[in-house]
């Protein structure tokens, strides 16, 4: 039997106030896919950053092919045959695929980069591992899935024998996920070992040979997909039973809260992204806007929330015209917004939790009186929100950037729901969250519905749409092409309309439906 490519022995890593890794041991053999499963903040990324030389461990040792090494830097890790693809890609957008791949290891001839040879080498690797990609394409023009492929090729080009993928599916479409899994399988047949960091249970079940579950910085269990199921994995990961499908009473649709008529919105390139959309959301109802990313959802949401100019049509919130309202006026009219990108739009990461809690309400009572902030009231409300929404934090004075993704999202929810809005617009509210946090967010959304609020949900996750929505609107190329009531349509049907299908030529297999995309 071959020795493990990498063996970690009792790795310990301490951050101020947190024991991120507590004597974690793990070994990787050639030809296996190991899923490192755990909630956000369980210590998975910390562990892999130690292996990749980004962090240095406080205790324990790393053995590469049986030899103890101290990995000082990513460069050193690469020299030892360890490659890592980060969640956020580290590519130079204006350069070509080849240029990106050879960057840092350029083949040269007399001091000049030999692009011909570079391109050949890239072709060769891409052929060998079945990672089709155009070596001359500009990275900026590639879809996300392709960019990820370039990242993988970059690691392979540098001779990686162990490949660490940090939440590789977070940004991918279902189609791209399947392609990635095929790539990963072909890599291990070539004798590589792949570590797959994730918190998505289905992925673990479908791709991993072995699952190592982490919780609170410790390895809490190890299993094989064939010996367990998603419920079993979830229990290991969270430490308690998790309910996947939330139960909800039938909708009691009240007054019409949001009315949108023939709305037209342009995107950044000044092309029409929303082409005459009309719909309503009533009190006590969750309306989900389902669609493949890039079909006008972002522009539609930005128009409703006052962040983007409207070129045609009208919008009313509780009868008040908000067609040309700025964000401030929309908030005043009773709107709350959980933005798609919480780091960019949801939070000011450098602000502490108190300052983030008042964003949007920082001009009025109880937070401000005649332009002066009242930190007694702010502290009190923030503490209450932290408690009500179970935001795990050492204090209300830490910066938002110090929280884990799930807790950041809870903070955004706490702020937006704490405002007691009439309409909640939630764009991908569970993106990147682990099952525990997803369950929490879903329960909060349904609680709002139960309190007679209107909820507009935008999601790319069909499971989320199916379990929360009372009505499902399918958006495709800037238009609403189909409407379903809850439970009326299967995932396949939704997928069919989301990818531009129509009429009654509905095919049965989901594979075929997705192939249309």
């Amino acid at each position: 039997m071959a020795p493990p490519l990498i063996e970690l022995r009792e790795i310990t890593k301490q951050f101020p106030g947190v024991l991120a890794n507590d004597k974690v041991s793990l070994s990787l053999k050639p030809g296996e896919i190991v899923a490192l499963l755990g909630e956000n903040g369980a210590g998975k990324s910390t562990l892999m950053n130690v292996v990749y030389g980004l962090l240095s461990a406080d205790g324990g040792e790393v053995l590469v092919e049986g030899e103890a090494v101290h990995i000082r830097s990513p460069r050193h890790a690469i020299d030892l045959g360890i490659g890592m693809v980060h969640q956020h890609f580290m590519l130079v957008a204006p350069l070509t695929v080849t240029e990106n791949i050879v960057l840092g290891n350029e083949p040269t001839r007399g001091g000049v980069i030999d692009f011909k040879q570079a391109r050949e080498e890239v072709r060769e690797i891409s052929r060998r591992y079945g990672l089709a990609v155009d070596p001359d394409a500009t990275v900026r023009d590639l879809p996300v899935g392709m960019q990820q492929r370039v990242e993988i090729l970059k690691a392979l080009y540098r001779g990686a024998r162990v490949l660490i993928l940090d939440e590789p599916t977070a940004v991918l479409t279902p189609q791209e996920v399947r392609e990635l899994f095929a790539v990963v399988r072909s890599l291990v047949t070539e004798g590589l070992a792949v570590v797959f960091i994730t918190h998505k249970l289905e992925e673990v079940m479908s791709v991993a040979d072995r699952v190592v579950v982490m919780r609170d910085g410790r390895v809490v269990g190890e299993t094989r997909p064939q010996d367990t199921d998603t419920a079993g994995l979830a229990k290991m990961m969270v430490g308690r039973e998790v309910v996947f499908r939330v139960e909800k009473p039938p909708s009691a649709c009240g007054d019409t809260i949001l009315e949108i008529e023939d709305l037209r919105v342009l995107d950044e390139r000044r092309l029409e992204a929303v082409k005459g959309v009309s719909f309503t959301v009533c009190a006590g109802e969750v309306v989900a806007l389902a669609g493949v990313s890039g079909n006008g959802q972002t522009e539609l949401i930005e128009a409703i929330t006052g962040l983007r100019k409207v070129t045609g049509g009208s919008m009313r919130l509780k009868g008040v015209d908000i067609t040309h309202a700025a964000a401030r006026e929309a908030i005043a009219a009773g709107l709350s917004h959980v933005p798609e990108d919480r780091h960019r739009r949801g939070l000011v990461l450098e602000f502490d939790l108190m300052e983030n809690t008042i964003l949007g309400d920082h001009r009025q009572a109880p937070f401000a009186k005649r332009g002066v902030l009242d930190f007694h009231a702010i502290t009190e409300v923030t503490r209450k929100r932290i408690a009500d929404y179970d935001v795990r934090t050492p204090s209300e004075r830490v910066k938002a950037s110090a929280l884990s993704g799930g807790n950041q999202q809870k903070l955004v929810l706490a702020r937006e729901l704490g405002r007691d809005p009439d309409l909640l617009v939630a764009a991908q509210p569970t993106r990147g969250l682990d099952v525990g946090a997803i369950e929490f967010v879903h329960n909060q959304i349904l609680a709002e519905r139960g309190n007679g609020k209107a909820v507009l949900l935008v999601s790319l996750e069909l499971e989320e749409v199916q379990s929360l929505a009372d009505r499902i609107l399918i958006i495709f190329e800037g238009q609403i092409v189909k409407e379903f009531t809850a439970g009326e349509a299967s995932d396949e049907e939704l997928g069919y309309y989301m990818t531009g299908g129509g009429g009654d030529k509905l095919t049965s297999g989901s594979e075929e439906v997705r192939a249309d995309a």
Binding site: G306, A327, E329, E350, F351, L359, G371, V372, S395
Partner: protein, 367 residues
């Protein structure tokens, strides 16, 4: 509960210390490198620093001189720091300062014969207003068409300086050969501090120093405790999240750059009203630009600006004594100033040194 409170206050103290560490270490390293340079050049660094310290703080007169020199830097440092907090680089504080100085030189003559407190208040307000106005056009361009403020405020500095140049040689020129404006009547000048604090006699430090210090605390309060300051900081950190939270990014940008301009304008007013009593071409020794260094060293903290301005003022005041007593050329001061700015800007160098010396202590704290 008491335990929780203690944890918080100690962590707040730790935050303050962490914030202070980089500037302090930077100043220390700059002093060390400065002494190496002096050794190489054949001077005695200990004697030089001793003379410098004596020159800056050795007597009431010298303390007064340090205060005098730190005053305009405090205003311009605050100006640049406020801009930075809102994500704006007001590199044109010098131009706003010139316009503030111009307004004081003109208004001070117009107001001759009026009561002194009235003149002082009106001239300060007017100077702040024209400083803000001088920043308003670049601010508007930034907010509406995205023209970068580094270019526009710089260009407005040239415009301001040449307007002053023209006025002092032409329309506003006093009788005589020298291109300067008429001397302000006493009721249009700032009182000397030694009239209140005799131990500062006979230094030239004027009431502007007090105005600057009070203003620094006020700006600190505005940034931290008002909706206006909150919006400025929010936009500075993350304009997208600010926009989503209903903050108008363009309005906040305009307000912040105008506040910055007003603060810089006050530097010009107080120099004219407190030091020169008139306006001429060279009345500012590049205070608008040194203000950038002051803001950097202060890490854009208004209270820090007070300390940084006094340090720079002290270096400048002590330089003369150093040259006189230790026979070290005054230019060494410029080298040390440059080193401080370099080290603060290249924060990682100081962080690395702090990391190496402070690691054990930090580990103990964490455990």
């Amino acid at each position: 509960m008491p335990e929780l409170v203690r944890v918080q206050s100690s962590s707040r103290l730790a935050t303050v210390l962490r914030e202070l560490a980089v500037p302090l270490v930077s100043v220390a390293i700059a002093a060390i490198i400065g002494s190496v340079i002096m050794l190489i050049a054949g001077f005695d660094p200990l004697a030089a620093y001793a003379a410098m310290f004596k020159g800056a703080f050795g007597s009431g007169r010298q303390i007064g001189e340090t205060m005098l020199r730190s005053t305009p830097l405090m205003f311009t440092g605050l100006a640049v720091a406020y801009g930075f907090r809102a994500g704006l680089f007001n590199i044109g504080a010098e131009g706003q300062l010139f316009m503030g100085g111009l307004s004081a030189a003109w208004l001070g003559i117009v107001l001759a014969g009026m009561p002194r407190p009235f003149n002082i208040i009106l001239m300060l307000v007017a100077g702040a207003a024209i400083g803000a106005a001088w920043a308003f056009v670049p601010a508007l361009l930034k907010a509406k068409v995205g023209a970068h403020e580094v270019i526009t405020t710089m260009m407005f500095t040239y415009i301001g300086r040449y307007i002053v140049s023209w006025l002092v040689t032409g329309p506003l020129k006093a009788e005589g050969q020298i291109p300067q404006t008429n001397r302000l009547p006493v009721e249009s000048t700032l009182p000397k501090m030694h009239e209140i604090l005799p131990f500062l006699t006979p230094s030239r430090v004027h009431l502007g120093f007090v105005v600057a210090v009070v203003l620094a605390f006020f700006i600190w309060w505005v940034l931290k405790y008002t909706s206006l300051g909150y919006e400025s900081r929010a936009v500075g950190y993350n304009p997208w999240a600010s926009e989503t939270g209903g903050i108008s990014v363009s309005a906040t940008t305009i307000k912040a750059l105008c506040i910055s301009g007003a603060l810089a304008g006050l530097a010009g007013v107080t120099e004219v009203m407190g030091v020169h009593m008139r306006l001429f071409d060279q009345f500012s020794a590049g205070f608008g630009f040194t203000g950038i260094a002051v803001a950097l060293l202060a890490k854009n903290n208004p209270i820090g600006v007070i300390a940084a301005a006094i340090l720079f003022g002290g270096l400048s005041a002590g330089g003369g004594t150093m040259q006189l007593e230790a026979d070290v050329p005054q230019k060494v001061i410029l080298i040390i100033q440059a080193l401080i700015i370099f080290l603060v800007a290249a924060e990682q160098i100081a962080r690395w040194i702090i990391g190496r010396t402070g690691r054990r202590g930090a580990a103990e704290n964490a455990g």
